[in-house]
């Protein structure tokens, strides 16, 4: 039955996280980017809102998660990703882990408050999630992982990585504790999202026990994790794009040139309209993918891919136009738009940073 109606819980989550985005994330966005790190107190405050704790198989609600990610992304995408980063890992373990994996890994995370992340992307200009250079080889004692995972969020704070690797000709995921011998982390500077603590994780002859293959003896359908990530990423982009649209709308309404406000000129007003249409349609694409993920529909892979494709294109177009419509001010770091422009492009190029 076709419906866009949100439940009370979903509405409440949207309001709560919008307030957090407005009061906590937005004011801290610029400093986080410039300093390259997030104030731990802010991170703690945002985590107290409790989103992490509703990610088990029974209470996880992908539609609600996209609402929250949009709001947080509207506040600041780097901080949004830091706040929710560990969630992608928790969701994957909850969805596909064995009982033992859930208890030990999630239990450790819960008590330590440490971060955990998906490690999907790799170096090289031909990267694709269906063709991973990182390998896992099995033997009697367990698995040996070899490779380098790139642009892993919160890398230096992670207690666990969920490493995506080629195993037996297919993609599989392995839980790798940070302190396993052979694991090293190296921070990296990027175009945007510098507050997120992205890092490269090198896995050199990393030995894992049998119990570290996500899902146990049969592994799991990692495509579902990718689908969730694409949807989550699209939701953050949705929020970031909305932030640009709103900022530029206000700016062009105030800014007078050649006798009238910029926004009153068709070439500007029309672009603002198209930005708004893009922001709205992105959201429905994300809701659709999320609603299909929620019921485990086969179509979710397609919907998530299309939502991601669409959100990347639209959000980057909006951010790009945002810079343009501010004129010279768009190039200055005094306005947030150049920061959002870089963050949006960065997020669009990466994999596994957010999950619905």
């Amino acid at each position: 039955m076709i419906s866009f109606a949100l439940s009370d819980d979903q509405e409440l989550a949207r309001e709560t996280f919008h307030a957090a985005a407005r009061d906590l994330l937005r004011p801290a966005g610029r400093n986080t980017e410039e300093s390259g790190s997030i104030d731990p107190a802010l991170l703690m405050q945002a985590q107290e809102l409790g989103l992490q704790h509703v990610q088990d198989a029974d209470s996880r609600d992908p539609v609600l998660n996209t609402l929250v990610l949009e709001e947080l992304g509207w506040g600041d995408s780097a901080i949004a990703l830091a706040v929710t980063g560990t969630i992608a890992f928790i969701q994957a373990v909850n969805a596909f882990g064995t009982e033992a994996q859930k208890q030990s890994v999630l239990g450790t995370l819960d008590s330590s408050g440490a971060a955990a992340a998906l490690a999907i992307a790799e170096h090289g200009f031909n990267f694709d999630v269906t063709d991973l250079a990182t390998t896992a080889v099995g033997d009697d004692a367990g698995y040996t992982i070899e490779g380098v995972k790139a642009f892993v969020p919160l890398a230096s704070q992670c207690a666990f990585f969920l490493v995506f690797a080629t195993y037996g000709g297919a993609q599989q995921a392995f839980i790798v504790p940070r302190d396993t011998p052979g694991v090293s982390v190296e921070p990296v500077r990027t175009l945007g999202l510098n507050g997120l603590g992205l890092g490269h994780v090198t896995l050199s002859n990393v030995r894992l026990g049998h119990d570290m293959w996500l899902g146990g003896d049969n592994g799991c359908d990692v495509q579902r994790i990718i689908d969730s990530c694409r949807t989550g990423t699209a939701a953050v982009l949705n929020g970031a794009a909305r932030a640009v649209y709103e900022y530029v709308k206000d700016y062009t309404r105030d800014r007078v040139a050649h006798g009238s406000a910029l926004a009153q000129k068709q070439s500007v007003g029309f672009r603002l309209v198209d930005m708004h249409i893009a922001v709205e349609s992105m959201r429905w694409m994300n809701w659709r993918a999320a609603s299909e993920l929620a019921v485990g529909a086969d179509t979710a892979t397609r919907s998530a891919r299309l939502a991601h494709l669409y959100a990347c294109e639209q959000a980057n177009w909006i951010a790009d136009e945002g810079v343009q419509l501010l004129g010279g001010h768009g190039f200055l770091r005094d306005h947030p738009v150049e920061h959002w422009f870089r963050a949006t492009r960065t997020l669009s190029n990466l994999e596994g940073l957010a999950s619905a």
Partner: protein, 389 residues
């Protein structure tokens, strides 16, 4: 609950419409020719035996997503199948072309409704020099102070179903006996002296669709024919039809997207939604992008229609947005679809050649994309008509 899947009843109805679309598609070329005034309607053998799908949708409404949504989904299938847009009577199994009757019910007095509602009324808005800006309407109605009758003079253009209808609701600049002037609607029945139908327009596509000029040469009508609705109420009727025109964009687009997809499948090139652009052929990547735009437009239409179900009336902003994105997407799909298919696609042996022409009007009629953006800019940016034009 947020859900974009069809209910069982929705799927049944849409499935019926899809079957019917396949029937119409076999005859689509029949309608790719000009009709002149007085030509008999084109008959499709077997058409009279088809089930009335909208009535089926109404009968099952409780188990469906709501009639406005189903009406849109049925219409999408109809356009997908190239079902001709003909006058089929007000109870016909077709998109409601007779929006004048809907408007009459909204703004007419009971006497007026009783008198004309049984007639099929086309709507006369556009003029040779005034289309999307009704303020430019030059057709006049001047009241005779003696008889209180009105004398109408002027010309309307691009009037859908102008020949098939039994009368017109026409928007004119009316000056009453006291000298007050405002835009008003009048009913003019066929056969009224001075009221005539021009020739059928010769169009690039949708060739057999009844589209004419209407000429008013000293047409005298009684005061009863003057409707009390102002321009704002008149134009509000367009909110529900705008999103239906966006549905046409979807139907045409899907016909081409499916066709391109079939050609890719035939040469063993599957769209792989798992991988990135770095693992796709250019054609597959382009098609996937078009699919994304199609889905975005589909969702914007569904959003407008869902609000119509929820609120009981069509939303203004969402309908305009649906029309704006639909019009953009259908043009994109047609041009890129043609490009992806290469030389063979231009042949009249294939449906895409016709759809390419038929669909080009979608971003123009019922308010071009530019007009939607003007209206939306006013709403979204908080400007008056004077501040944003």
């Amino acid at each position: 609950m947020v859900d974009f899947s069809l209910s069982e009843a929705d799927a049944t109805i849409v499935g019926m419409a899809h079957e019917q679309a396949k029937f119409y598609r076999k005859h689509a070329r029949l309608f790719d020719r000009d009709l002149a005034i007085g030509d008999p309607p084109i008959v499709i053998p077997g058409e009279e035996d088809l089930p009335h799908i909208r009535n089926a949708a109404r009968a099952a409404e409780e188990e469906t997503s709501g009639f406005p949504i189903l009406d849109a989904l049925i219409n999408l299938e109809e356009l997908y199948g190239g079902k001709p847009m003909r006058a089929r009577g007000r109870q016909g199994d077709t998109m409601n072309f007779f929006l004048s009757n809907t408007l009459l019910e909204k703004i007419g007095t009971q006497e007026q409704i009783d008198k004309w509602n049984a007639l099929r009324l086309c709507y006369g808005l556009t003029e040779p020099s005034a289309g999307s800006d009704p303020a430019g309407v030059k057709t006049t109605a001047v009241q005779d102070p003696e008889t209180r009758d009105w004398i109408i003079n002027g010309e309307k253009i691009f009037i859908s179903l102008g020949e098939a209808s039994e009368g017109v609701m026409v928007l004119v600049r009316a000056r009453d006996a006291e000298g007050h002037e405002r835009l008003s609607n009048f009913i003019v029945e066929k056969g009224t002296p001075g009221f005539s139908v021009g020739t059928q327009h010769r169009k690039m596509g949708q060739r057999s669709v009844d589209t004419v000029n209407l000429i008013f040469d000293n047409v005298r009508v009684p005061d009863l024919n003057h409707l009390n609705g102002d321009l704002k109420r008149t134009l509000s009727i367009l909110n529900s039809t705008r999103s239906l025109v966006a549905v046409q964009a979807l139907g045409f687009s899907r016909a081409v997207l499916d066709f391109v997809r079939e050609q890719l499948d035939a040469r063993g090139e599957m769209l792989d939604y798992r991988s990135s652009i770095r693992r796709q052929s250019a054609v597959a990547a382009r098609l996937m992008r078009l699919e994304a735009y199609y889905e975005a437009a589909w969702l914007m239409v569904m959003r407008a229609k869902w609000l119509e179900v929820e609120q009981g009336s069509a939303p203004k902003v969402e309908a305009s947005m649906a029309k704006a994105i639909g019009g953009r997407v259908v043009r994109m799909v047609m041009q890129e679809g043609m490009e992806l298919l290469g030389p063979e696609a231009v042949s009249t042996d294939h449906l895409i050649e016709q759809v390419f022409r038929d669909s080009r009007i979608v971003d123009i009629y019922e308010g071009p994309g530019e007009v939607q953006r003007v209206l939306l800019a006013r709403d979204l940016l908080g400007y008056s008509a004077r501040e944003f034009s």
